[in-house]
Each structure stands twice: as structure tokens, then as C-alpha cells.
């Protein structure tokens, strides 16, 4: 590893010929070192080292305690069910919707609703969804007291069930829009319309065209997003706390609890747990890759069998049903939050609040200004840095491809996905210690850097397909007309790519706004963001105030997306070819 780093550094410094080389090297420096050191510092207590607690002797006892913990088997079961279940189901749902609805009006509706769907923060959705499905929730209220006969909520186990089904569903509804976004961006690189046309003319049924022709080309672009969803679902804390099982909770919640247990010796078990969660995640990722390999082996043998029809043709109609459920659940959860934010009292079995009040908003408004400002600034700056680094990396990539050079730093770029694939909790404690040693915590610089660590991979992921499919000939024309390469880059390429660039920045903006643990761990309490305020209020009881903060979080993220949509529309109002 050290050797690789050295080579990256050398290749970056000796880059006379090509200054672009600095970008991948810089990008890696932002990520690799801190995460590796963070991991090591977090693991130290798992092996008995925690100097503040006066312990510095090697010991495997934390692992023994962890493995004998009565809650571990149950916690692992819930983690596996929700993590694997949610990722496979959301991939299946996203692909099914794409295959059955591509080209329909509903498909365009979905495309339009992606921005608000992605803006709705996970925790806010979970609060709304939980209110939807609870025995005292909106669905049951809609039939109570008539015709259900319930004057009091039934004692059913819906939200927070011990089998983690409600948690799995929450993540399914929240991750599917993200995978759909990735499908949209992936399809933009494939010539889908003509593929379908060719398939049709050869007599292939719709589903066959997708499984035989499109998905094999599309999947490589979905692999990383899927693995990110898998890693996220296995290690999510806030959703599992809001709607996950309680006896016992998931492994991630157990670890989180150990890390802030009053008994400081729990940090040892917590660190061991963080290592275990990382191993679980890595094992699941490897299994997913093996599974993918097996499926592609089997499928590639079948791909030429010439079958035109599929037994699942009859189910094609279900695609719009699932898509409507996906949209409906999100709309209802959001509506429930809006109603709560203006409710004074709203008890079972009332379908609407018994009394309305705007005081929830008016009292919160003065407290909202600072957190909204801090969130917006941190999100904007981290997005800006991210986009500069990402565009630099892509340019370098295309440069190298032109000159057919194989560069180690370019090949190592997969490392930027590490923050998506490694559970946050397994390296943040270590990063905190590291920053404290160097006296760097609690400053704007470190806050933006830690946000950048999580923003950059998403910006990279959302921009990659469109950026790589840009037709370089436009730039060549610019150069041929006498512009210097840099001028042609800024005046032609960047302008033509404005829309996807702004959209990927909006995704990054939303990611930055949602960061809770990273802000908490490196912020030293100096930065109150809209998310830290929302999470601390979510530990309380007042759903009305929670709704106000969650909606503010949603509106801020939505502003980012709206800017990304409206700005190009204004910029290109006189350029018809740029309208679409």
C-alpha cells in the first residue's frame, strides 16, 4: 500500500506533461489516508487499547464479550434480513419498473418525481412511513372507527416488528428511487430505443429484450450503486432506530449504543462490533459479486437460446402497480409530515388533526435560520470541491485513454467508493481521535472535508455515465475553430454538460445535508446543522416539531434539485437543442 501511495505521489509530482494527473492523486489523498488511519484507530480498542480508559495491553477479550453477547445472534439476523432483503428487493423493483414501464407516461412521471423523492431525507421518510403503517397510524385511521370498529388502535405488530420487515420495507422504498436514478443515467449511455426496436423486429417480447439485451449492458453501471445500497442497508443506524426491531435491535444500533454507553468499557465491545460489521459488509459484498458471476455464467449460456417469450409476460401490468405504490407511499408519508407540522393535537382515530396551529413553524423559524445556513454553506462548498475534483479526474481519464497510458492512480480511483462501502461507524471514532491529536476538529475546513468524503463518491457516481458519453468531437470542433484546449473545455464542453453537472451537484448537496454522524464526530459541537438539530429532536417525543425540522431538511435538499433544474432552463432558454 505504501509503495502504491509513493508511486501516486511521484507520478503526481513528475507530471510536467500533464497537470491533470494531480486530480486522481489529490482525490485519493482526500480519502485513503484518513480512512485507513480512522479504521486503525477505531479498531485499537477492539484489541484492548484505549489509553484514556487506562488500558494498553493486547487482549482479545472484547471479541469474546461480543460473541457471547445474548443479543448478537438476533441482531445479526435482523441485520442480514433487512440489509440483504432491502438491497435485492430494491434492485429487483427498480429493474422491474424500468423493464415494464420504459417509454410510458408513468415512466416520465417517475423521472420527474426523482428529485423530490431523493430530497426526502431517510429519517423524515421513516417517521412519516412509521406513522402510516402503525396500528394507530393513518392507514388504520382511514377505516376507523368505521368500518373497522376500532375506537382504540388494535394491538398489532406493524412498525418496529421483530422480524425487521417494516425496516426492510422502509429501505426498499427509500433506496429504489436512488437505483432508478442510476438506471436513468445508465440508460442514457445505451441506445435503448434502437435496441428495443431491433429486439421487437426479431419478435422478442418486452421482458426478453430487457433480460437478454439491455440489462447485461446496464448492470455493470448498477454494480457499484447496488453495493453502496447493500453496505448502507447493513449499517444504517437512524432508520433502524426509528422503525427497526427492538428486542434486540440491529447490529449497527447495538454498536452505536456501545459507543455511547455510560460504561466506558463498552467502547471495547463497540470497537469489536464495528470490526464485525465491516467483516459482515465485506462478506455480503463478496457474496453479491459471486452471485453476479454465477448469474451471468448461467445467463450467458441462455442468451442465445432464441426464446422470444417469457412466462412472466402476464405480470408486466404489475409494473405500474408497484410504481404507483412506490410513489403513493412517498407522497402519503410526506403529506403526513406536513399535517403533523401544522397540527396542535391529532389523536387516534382522527383522520385529520383535531386542531391546527402554525405555532410549530413560527416558534421554530428563528431557531432554524442558523442551522439552515450552516447546512447550506457546508453542502455548497463540499459540492463545489467535489465537482472540481471529479471533473478533473474524468478529464485525466480521457487524456490517458487518448494517449493509451495506464496510470496507477487512475486505476486506484475505485478507492473513492470506500466511504460508501465501509460502515461509517467503523472509522469515524478513529478519525475523531486523529483530528484531536492534530488539533483540527471543529473547524470549517475539517467539516467540509468530511462531507466531501461522502459527497464525492455520489457526485462521481451520478456524473460518470453522462460525462463519459460526451461526444469529444464537439470540443475538437472548438479547437479546430481556433480556441485553445482550455477555452474549448470551458466554453464548449462544460457548457454542454451543465445540466448533468448541476444535477450531480444537487445529489451531492443532498448527501451533504443528510450527514449526521460525520458532522457530530468531527464538528466537536461547533456546527449545528439542520440534520443534527432534527436528529436530536427525533430523540424526543414531539412529532409536530420533528415534522417541522424534517420538512425544512427536505425543502433545503429540494432547493438544490430545483436550482439544478431551473438554472439550465434559464441559461439555455434561447438554445432549443439544449432544452432536453
Amino acid at each position: 500500500m505504501a509503495e502504491a501511495l509513493f508511486k501516486i505521489a511521484v507520478s503526481a509530482m513528475s507530471g510536467r506533461r500533464n497537470r491533470l494527473k494531480i486530480f486522481p492523486a489529490l482525490t485519493l489523498a482526500v480519502f485513503l489516508l484518513p480512512i485507513l488511519v480512522g479504521l486503525l484507530f477505531t479498531w485499537a480498542p477492539a484489541f484492548g487499547y484505549l489509553s484514556a480508559a487506562g488500558s494498553n495491553r493486547f487482549s482479545l477479550e472484547p471479541f469474546a464479550t461480543l460473541l457471547h453477547h445474548p443479543s448478537l445472534p438476533g441482531a445479526l439476523r435482523s441485520t442480514f434480513i433487512s440489509g440483504i432483503g432491502a438491497s435485492l428487493m430494491s434492485l429487483g423493483l427498480a429493474l422491474w419498473i424500468a423493464a415494464t414501464l420504459y417509454g410510458s407516461r408513468l415512466w416520465s412521471t417517475i423521472e420527474l418525481s426523482l428529485a423530490p423523492l431523493l430530497s426526502l431525507p431517510h429519517a423524515a421518510f421513516a417517521i412519516g412511513f412509521s406513522f402510516l403503517i402503525a396500528p394507530s397510524g393513518w392507514l388504520i385511521r382511514s377505516v376507523s372507527p368505521f368500518p373497522s370498529g376500532f375506537t382504540y388502535p388494535p394491538d398489532w405488530t406493524t412498525n418496529g416488528d421483530p422480524w425487521a420487515i417494516s425496516l426492510t420495507l422502509t429501505m426498499l422504498f427509500k433506496e429504489t428511487p436512488f437505483l432508478l436514478l442510476m438506471i436513468f443515467s445508465g440508460l442514457s449511455r445505451l441506445d435503448v430505443r434502437r435496441t428495443i426496436w431491433v429486439g421487437r423486429s426479431l419478435g422478442y417480447h418486452r421482458l426478453r429484450i430487457w433480460t437478454r439485451l439491455i440489462i447485461p449492458q446496464l448492470y455493470p453501471m448498477l454494480r457499484l450503486p447496488l453495493l453502496a445500497v447493500l453496505a448502507y442497508s447493513l449499517s444504517v443506524v437512524d432508520l433502524a432506530y426509528i422503525i427497526g426491531p427492538s428486542l434486540p435491535p440491529t447490529l449497527a444500533v447495538l454498536i452505536d449504543r456501545w459507543f455511547h454507553d455510560p460504561d466506558i468499557s463498552s467502547r471495547f465491545v463497540g470497537a469489536a462490533g464495528a470490526l464485525l460489521l465491516l467483516l459482515v459488509t465485506l462478506a455480503c459484498i463478496s457474496s453479491a459479486l459471486v452471485l453476479e458471476y454465477l448469474i451471468s455464467k448461467i445467463a450467458s449460456r441462455k442468451i442465445l437460446d432464441g426464446r422470444r417469450k417469457s412466462p412472466f409476460e402476464l405480470l408486466v401490468g404489475s409494473g405500474s402497480f408497484y410504481a404507483l405504490i412506490l410513489l403513493g407511499v412517498n407522497v402519503l408519508s410526506l403529506t403526513a409530515l406536513m399535517l403533523w407540522s401544522v397540527a396542535h393535537s391529532w389523536r387516534f382515530p382522527h383522520f385529520f388533526p383535531a386542531r391546527f396551529s402554525f405555532s410549530n413553524w413560527s416558534t421554530a423559524l428563528s431557531h432554524l435560520l442558523e442551522p439552515v445556513f450552516v447546512s447550506a454553506l457546508a453542502a455548497f462548498l463540499s459540492c463545489l470541491l467535489a465537482i472540481i475534483l471529479v471533473v478533473g479526474c474524468f478529464e485525466n481519464e480521457q487524456n490517458l485513454a487518448r494517449s493509451r497510458i495506464d496510470s496507477i492512480s487512475q486505476r486506484s480511483l475505485w478507492i473513492i467508493y470506500l466511504p460508501l462501502l465501509i460502515p461509517q461507524i467503523s472509522f469515524l471514532f478513529g478519525i475523531q481521535v486523529l483530528l484531536i491529536i492534530f488539533n483540527l476538529e471543529g473547524s470549517w475546513g475539517t467539516l467540509i472535508w468530511i462531507h466531501l468524503v461522502f459527497v464525492l463518491p455520489y457526485v462521481f457516481l451520478t456524473l460518470a455515465n453522462t460525462y463519459r458519453s460526451y461526444d469529444q468531437r464537439y470540443s475538437y470542433v472548438g479547437t479546430a475553430l481556433g480556441a485553445r484546449p482550455l477555452r474549448s473545455f470551458f466554453r464548449v464542453k462544460l457548457i454542454m454538460l451543465t445540466k448533468p453537472i448541476l444535477f450531480s451537484m444537487a445529489v451531492g448537496f443532498g448527501v451533504s445535508i443528510a450527514q449526521y454522524l460525520p458532522t457530530l464526530y468531527v464538528g466537536a459541537g461547533r456546527f449545528a446543522t439542520i440534520t443534527t438539530e432534527t436528529v436530536s429532536l427525533a430523540s424526543g417525543s414531539d412529532r409536530r416539531v420533528m415534522a417541522v425540522y424534517a420538512l425544512s431538511q427536505f425543502l433545503l435538499a429540494l432547493t438544490g434539485f430545483l436550482t439544478a433544474i431551473v438554472l439550465p432552463a434559464i441559461m439555455f432558454r434561447n438554445r432549443r437543442a439544449m432544452q432536453n
Binding site: 432506530y241 428486542l247 455511547h260 455510560p262 393535537s345 475523531q432
Partner: protein
Amino acid sequence: MAYCPKRLLSIVIVMLTIMLNLAPALARDWPQIIAAARGQTVYFNGWGGSEVINRYISWAAGQVNQRYGITVKHVKVADIGDVVSRILAEKSGGRTSGGSVDLMWINGENFHAMKDNGLLLPPYTQMFPNYRLVDTENKVSTLFDFTVPVDNQESPWGMAQLVFLYDSEVVNDPPSTMAELLEFCKDHKGRFSYPAPPDFYGTTFIKQALLELTGERELLYKPVDIGKFDQVTAPLWVFLDALHPHLWRGGKAQPKSAPEMKRLLADREIFISLSFNPAEASNAIATGELPESIRTYVHEGGTIGNTHFLAIPFNSSAQEGAMVLADFLLSPEAQARKSDPSIWGDPTVLALAKLSPEQRTLFDTISLGVASLSPEELGPVILEPHASWVTAIEKEWLKRYSK
């Protein structure tokens, strides 16, 4: 925890080093501390889950800014354990001054852990002008936080006593013992639960049950005797085994916190909930969070009570400012405002008898609130058992019910 001379020695050394470092600050008298505090920024870290409490703190911040020129930043956290972790990380990183936390809201096990690991400033509350008004004689928990001596290392802030909230619309005759609570649950299946330990409130409910049910209460105030653990706790497990099938959702899921219980009570999913604030029901009715029909009750023979405190970490960068803020929060004016159920309703730590007549009128004018019990109705306060029992009981509970 076994007594380990080496460990003890290292703690003593750390404490001595800290004391020597801070000696100049501590030698000063109160006017000097006030002078030094001017212009400081105090980062007050505390649980931020309640708008009512957040608003009260923001009022106090305005007051100390006006009077003493101190800027208070309220750092709202979901769990104070995160803050303990941060201070621990600061100590691991060798940060003995210039720490990020100046004052924190804390008690019980967190205080115990911080005191044990040398994360607190050496004794200082004895210097506070308002500290002499604290009712240390009758409110023993202001001196012993979960049986651990406070030793002036945290400043009393408010009193807490376990109370039960019930919906009088459906419950006419609330239970007054654990046995009656079990009967209630059998009659109203699924209408009561308690938060799953290690949640603070869940653990308190279990301690309350143990104190009521065991025949050997005095043993609970000594460090846990593993040999007698089974014998002392046997009645508790019999009770819980009988109770669990009748809990909310058949005991297969439990609420994760007391705030979640409060929501369930408002949603009519459960009929009885619990709280540590005797005025919580009145306050929540005033804000519309709970309906008018909610009332409060306690068990015969008393319920567990304790005190919550404000503590200054060993490496605070604004110690003087933190002290002035903590002292202000202890003043009759701030304490009276805090105990008003329409503002927060957190009971005072002060002895009314020690106040001047004018100061006492501040308290006399406060109305108790529609759903609160009078001090007589609240009954005696039972002290928290020794902290070592809590760890042992939690462990056994997890083994039995959280598999």
C-alpha cells in the same frame, strides 16, 4: 471492578496533574471568576430532544449574556453518551486543555464513568453563591448521584421522580403497586409497556419493580453480591415473566425510549406511560402534545427519585463562564422559572426554607398544573440502588428478554 493499585495510582496521578494545572483558576474567589468569565463562549452540551427545554436554555443563555457578558452556545445532542465519547477521545488525543465541551447535562452512570476516568474538573460547586441554597439535607440525591458521592464535581440542576402517566378517559382506578399493574395489564392486554433496557427509563422501571418486590432491599444499596444475586432478584423475574405476555405487542417489541412511550400514549396505543418529571403531564397538556385527560399517579411506598446535574469537563476551555452559567441556573429566579409547568415543570433542587421571602414568592405563585400531584401525593422518594446492581440486572434482562 476489582481494586487494582496500578490503575488507582494512575488515576491519582492524572487527578494531581489536572489539579496542579488548574490550581490558579480554583484559588480565585467568586468576583474574580465572574470577571474572568466575561467575554467567554460556553459550549453547553445537553440532550436536545425537547423544544420546551431548549427554549428554557435559550432564555438562560440570554440572561447570562446580558448580566455577565457570557455567550452560551447550546449544543443539542441525541444522547449525552456521544459527548462523553468525545471527551474520552480528547483525553486519548492528549488534549488536557482547550476542550470542546464546557458544561454538560449529566447524571448517574455517565457521571460515574466520567468521575472514574478523571474526565471532570476537580471540586468547584462549593464556591457557587447559590449552592448554599440547595436542599442537601432533605434531597440526599444532590450529594449522592446513584450512590456515588458527588464531591462537588457536578452542580445540582433539577429533581426527578418516577411517575406514571395514565389516560383517565379509559383508566378510572390506576394501579398503586406492581402487583396491581400486572392485574391491569391482564385486564387491558397490550395497553402498557416499558422501554427496553439499556434505555434509562426501562432500567428505572425494572429497578422500581425490584425495590417493590424484593424482600432484601438493603442489599441493593451495597455493591452487588453475585452469590446473592439470584436470590435477591428472583421475585423480579417471576413478575416480568408474568407481565411480558400482556405487554404492548405481546412483549415481542418494546418502545425504545420514554419519548416513544409518550407518543404511544398520545396515539391511544397504550393507556399507561412513565416519566421522570412529575410535571410532564401538565406541561404536555399545556403544549397540546398530550390530551387533557392525562393524569399522574405513583406507587404506594414511594418511587425512585434522583437528581440531574451540570458538570464541567476537566479540559473545558471556558471554566469560569461554565461556573457562572451553572450558578445562574441554580439561582432562585432560574429554578422557579424552570419549575413552572407551563415553561418546563422540572422540580427545584433548592430548599424553600433557605430562601428569602421575596425569593419564595417566586415559587409560591407557580400553579402546579392540572395533571400534577401535590408534594404530599407524590409520596416518599426511594433512592437509586448501587450502580453495580444496574449493570448486573441489565445483563440478566438482556439474556432473558432480548435474544
